[in-house]
């Protein structure tokens, strides 16, 4: 068991790939924003890559262990300390009963992940332990961590001193510019040629009004193709309105003139167009960026996006451990 002393800004239990199979009933997958760092943390402590761990956002938690454990911290650098002694990132570490792990503000990157050998043994809901706090389900009591929460751990076989090869880690950086892959569609044909060119060449700034539901972007005005104006009344009056339809995960959803990337806790349907989609293998870049950072979008094929996901999956294995 672990006791939450300080919860951090919005720390939550997540597993990967999350709550799959209920999108058609409005339930998003949830799961870690940076599943690359998350999965490697689990591999380090001997877990299946998708076992439940903690996602720490911007400001990490303080946790007290009441039993021995092996843990790993990956992703953003929140300068973790165990009883005041610095804990290396990307390495499995032994914790003794009674010790306290404290994470601070993210100095590089935005989201850190803590895996525990044996995984978090909270009660699953619809097949997943991932927290979806807007519906009050998953995790510990359906919410982000709160002071006083007790986090149950499973029995593990983790070993300390294992590290992730540097070349297998996501290249988290602090230069505030991110090259983010997108696939065209499903509604790119509602944007005119100039608008498509503008989308792919412009700088898009990440707004502070961004969370695990949506990443709001600020940038140039959008211009639309003829079909966005010349359409049946059931679609709605704005050029970005379309008759209600399902949204893909990662959709760049255009509400009027405001693009919002719909991410892990996002909505499954609505009445706005989705001109482009960020593939899941690029989500780690979203998860490690912060307000004011600039995205530049680069078009890739669906086949390339699928290959990226396979490449990432191959990296999140024992082959990346030394």
């Amino acid at each position: 068991m672990i006791e939450v002393i300080k919860p951090g800004l919005e720390t939550s239990v997540q597993d990967w790939p999350g709550r799959i199979g209920f999108w058609n009933q409005g339930f998003p997958p949830s799961g870690p924003m940076d599943s690359w760092s998350f999965r490697l943390a689990n591999v380090l402590v001997g877990n299946a890559p998708g076992a439940a761990g903690l996602e720490c956002q911007y400001l990490g938690p303080t946790l007290r262990f009441d039993a021995d454990a092996v843990i790993a911290v990956t992703g953003a650098d929140m300068a973790p300390k165990l009883d005041g002694v610095a804990v290396p990132l990307w390495e499995s570490v032994a914790v003794r009963a009674g010790q306290t792990l404290a994470l601070g503000p993210a100095k590089l990157g935005t989201r850190a992940y803590i895996a525990f050998s044996g995984g978090i043994a909270s009660e699953p809901w619809l097949g997943s332990r991932s927290t979806f706090h807007q519906a009050g389900v998953g995790g510990i009591g359906g919410s982000a961590l709160k002071a006083g929460h007790q986090i149950p751990l499973g029995a593990g076989t983790g070993v300390a001193g294992r590290r992730v090869k540097p070349e297998a880690r996501p290249p988290i950086h602090g230069d505030k510019r991110w090259d983010v892959e997108v696939c065209a569609g499903p509604n790119d044909d509602w944007i005119d040629a100039a608008g498509q060119e503008r989308f792919l060449s412009a700088d898009w700034k990440l707004s502070g009004k961004s969370n695990r539901t949506g990443f709001r972007l600020e940038g140039p005005e959008w211009t639309f193709a003829e079909k966005a104006y010349n359409k049946g009344p059931e679609h709605g009056s704005l050029p970005s309105n379309i008759i209600d339809h399902g949204y893909p995960l990662g959709a760049i959803n255009l509400a009027g003139q405001t693009p919002i990337i719909l991410v892990s806790d996002g909505p499954s349907m609505g009445g706005f167009i989705n001109p482009y989609t960020v593939p899941q293998a690029a989500f780690w870049k979203l998860g490690q960026s912060r307000p004011g950072d600039i995205y530049h979008f680069r078009l890739v094929s669906v086949e390339r996006a699928q290959a990226m996901a396979r490449e990432m999956k191959a990296l999140c294995t024992e082959a990346s451990i030394i």
């Binding site: 800004l9 911007y58 400001l59 503000p105 502070g208 969370n211 307000p291």
Partner: protein, 72 residues
């Protein structure tokens, strides 16, 4: 004794509630950051007088541990 109040997180500066010369009490909210659509209030750890404010309201892309308010 001078007191420095620094950002607890990366994010944007939503509101700056004090200016140089203001008298503040311990626990008074000095500024509020916005991150993940949440307001993160930063309070004064001590009573005193604001001697400097280094970040303007609306500033974007701040890092954690950035100096915002000095109290004398």
């Amino acid at each position: 004794m001078a007191t420095e109040v620094r950002t607890m997180t990366a994010g944007n500066m939503w509101k700056v509630l004090v200016q140089p010369g203001d008298a503040v009490t311990e626990g008074q909210t000095l500024f509020i950051m916005e991150v993940m659509k949440m307001e993160v209030a930063h309070e004064s750890p001590a009573a005193g007088t604001v001697t400097a404010v280094h970040v303007a309201e609306g500033a974007e892309g701040l890092d954690a541990d950035q100096l915002v308010v000095e109290i004398g």
